[in-house]
């Protein structure tokens, strides 16, 4: 263990470091983009290594970006509703509309006022789904689940898992109170907060995608507030009693978009990756990726009938009509909502 050995080891590791330096693409993504089956075809075609870092929630992503240096990232997958603020912060690079199959996207997900800022395209829709209720239909009836207000019923004490993402969950609580997500203001937030805190007595845990998924699968809970097909589709095969539903008050619709970082030094390759993700092949793999399944944005996604059945492809028009897109509060209300959420965890 003398200096020579140390020097030799350092030398070897340097050599390895250099040989690792092939072409790479760095993507900041939700966990569904970490599936090897999704990345591999692209990696092989372009002979590139795609590095992915997954996060949950735009706040987390922005925090990670703040902890990085310009040029660290190439591709960004982000909630569609956050595209304008992210674009205005100068994080996203302009894209060319003609590069993408714009006509093949479902009309409801095109959302021109979100993906375009001042007429310029910044991100492309790729996947969408619902934050509503997932449940075990052996222990909670579909009739009960049709009304959000039964969540507060004493019979579900200790039987509820809450998805740990403050925006959709607080918006679901607002829906149960007869408000639309966009009705939330700093003035009525205290009432919503109170209603949220009342849910705590029925709550067994609050967790991320896999936390709540595990709880439902292992019988810890019967209901996931903020859940949806993205939680249950992967589990359906193992346990058909795990289901999801849009209650009569409606649900919240999430939608992911994908764009290129303004600071990226590999914008061309990054754009190729975006093109791949929204192509029929990429869309099929993304819709059925290992972390969570959900509807692809591209209506031509190469999915088979069985996959379409699990995604409830044919029922989408009804769901779309009965759901509200995420409402993104301004910075001030956002901070209040996050604080309310932290209090809820500690309540």
């Amino acid at each position: 263990m003398n200096i020579r050995v140390l020097g030799f080891t350092l030398f070897i590791s340097l050599c390895l470091g250099i040989s690792f330096a092939q072409s790479e693409l760095n993507a900041l993504v939700w966990c569904d983009h970490t599936d090897q089956a999704l990345l591999q075809p692209f990696e092989e075609k372009f002979n590139v290594k795609v590095n992915v870092k997954d996060y949950e929630g735009t706040g987390t992503a922005l925090s990670l970006i703040e902890q990085s240096r310009p040029g660290d990232w190439d591709v960004f997958v982000v909630d569609s509703v956050d595209v304008p603020r992210v674009a205005e912060a100068g994080i996203l690079a302009p894209l060319n509309e003609a590069d993408f199959p714009w006509d093949d996207f479902f009309d409801e997900v095109k959302l021109d006022d979100i993906h375009f800022v001042n007429g310029q395209l910044y991100a492309v829709p790729e996947k969408f789904g619902y934050n509503t209720l997932s449940f075990n239909n052996k222990n909670a009836s579909e009739a009960d689940m049709l009304d959000l207000n039964t969540l507060w019923d004493a019979k579900f004490e200790g039987k509820i898992a809450v998805y740990d993402y403050y925006i959709p969950t607080i918006e679901l609580i607002a829906l149960s109170m007869g408000m639309k997500p966009s009705d939330i203001t700093a003035e009525n937030l205290p009432q919503i907060k109170e209603r949220l805190f009342e849910l705590k007595k029925n709550t067994a845990l609050i967790g991320g995608v896999v936390g709540v998924q595990t709880a439902l699968a292992t019988g810890e809970v019967d209901i996931i507030v903020g859940g949806g097909e993205y939680v249950t589709a992967v589990l359906h095969e193992e346990d058909p009693s795990l289901d999801w539903i849009l209650p009569k008050q409606g649900g919240v619709r999430w939608q992911q978009a994908i764009g290129v970082f303004a600071d990226s030094e590999k914008k061309e390759l990054a754009t190729e990756f975006v093109k791949y993700i929204v192509s029929p092949e990429g869309q099929a793999r993304l819709a059925t990726s290992s972390c969570y399944w959900a509807m692809p944005a591209n209506s031509k996604a190469a999915l088979n009938d069985e996959q379409k059945a699990i995604l409830r492809w044919d029922e989408q028009p009804g769901y779309l009509a009965n759901s509200y897109p995420y409402y993104i509060p301004d910075a001030e209300l956002d901070a209040l909502m996050l604080e309310a959420w932290t209090e809820f965890l500690q309540y």
């Binding site: 080891t9 970490t34 699968a217 290992s290």
Partner: protein, 265 residues
């Protein structure tokens, strides 16, 4: 009769040991058992045995890369920690320096601090200085946590006995470097080895520093963490069992090497 009495006297103790052992082994046995689960959910009923999750582990490129990173970070950071610790311990044990207690205290100070605080400090500092998150950053953090331990172990082994031998060598005209490499190092190599092994173990299993200071090149605990947050399946059991198995084999090897040496001397 006396054997019955002896049995009765030892019964409570035996029962207690068995109970505590059952508690200690419960999660490990379950972990390994359900790594052979046939279906997707690693909970009863057991429907294996199947080796498919081990297949999934070894064909998971990111997991294998993380394994590789963990080995490199562990080996290099531990080598560095042992080297720095040895030099400092050698000087502090052999030469009377002003304020030597203060220096000893300073070098061992990180020992009584949470990893979280060390990680936070490094994260904020690197961020402020614009130093990128990387495996090197993780390695730096791991040297910080392991240096004090290595120092403590090595310092405690540098006793009078070695000092006398060193003096003898010096009197016979050996240079300082030859004294260190030909006398001291061979005398205390078991301590160096133990320090290295302990450092490696701690680095290998360290999460929070690696989590906060990494980007995509992550170490194994961080990759396992993101495996947990990307779907429930027995793959996590399989990688856990692999890590466990490899550690046990290494442990037995180490025991044989150290014990073998102890018998010879």
């Amino acid at each position: 009769m006396s054997s019955l009495k002896r049995f009765l006297r030892l019964l409570p103790a035996t029962l207690y040991v068995l109970l505590v052992f059952a508690f200690i082994f419960l999660p490990v046995v379950t972990l390994v058992l359900f790594s052979f689960q046939g279906s997707r959910l690693p909970i009863p009923p057991f429907d294996g045995p199947s080796l498919k999750w081990y297949g999934a582990v070894f064909s998971d490129r990111r997991l294998m890369a993380a394994l590789n990173h963990s080995i490199w970070v562990g080996v290099l950071s531990s080598l560095l920690a042992v080297a720095l610790a040895f030099l400092a311990a050698y000087a502090l044990a052999r030469v009377k320096l002003p304020l030597s207690n203060l220096w000893r205290w300073l070098i061992t100070a990180p020992l009584s601090m949470s990893y979280l605080i060390i990680a936070m400090g490094l994260l904020i500092t690197f961020n402020a200085l614009g130093i990128a998150k990387s495996l090197v950053a993780i390695g730096i953090g791991h040297v910080v946590i392991n240096l004090p331990l290595c120092f403590a172990i090595i310092f405690s082994q540098l006793g009078e006995q070695q000092a006398r031998l060193e003096r003898a060598a010096r009197d016979l005209g050996a240079s300082e470097l030859s004294v260190m490499t030909l006398i001291t190092l061979p005398l205390i190599w078991p301590a160096l080895f133990a320090a290295f092994f302990l450092s490696f173990t701690l680095s290998w299993d360290e999460f929070i520093i690696a989590f906060l200071l990494s980007r995509f090149d992550v170490t194994l605990p961080v990759e396992i963490w993101s495996l947990l947050s990307s779907g429930l399946n027995p793959k996590t059991n399989a990688i856990g069992s692999v890590v466990f198995g490899v550690s046990i084999v290494l442990l037995i090897l180490l025991e044989t090497i150290l014990l073998g040496r102890r018998r010879r001397t």
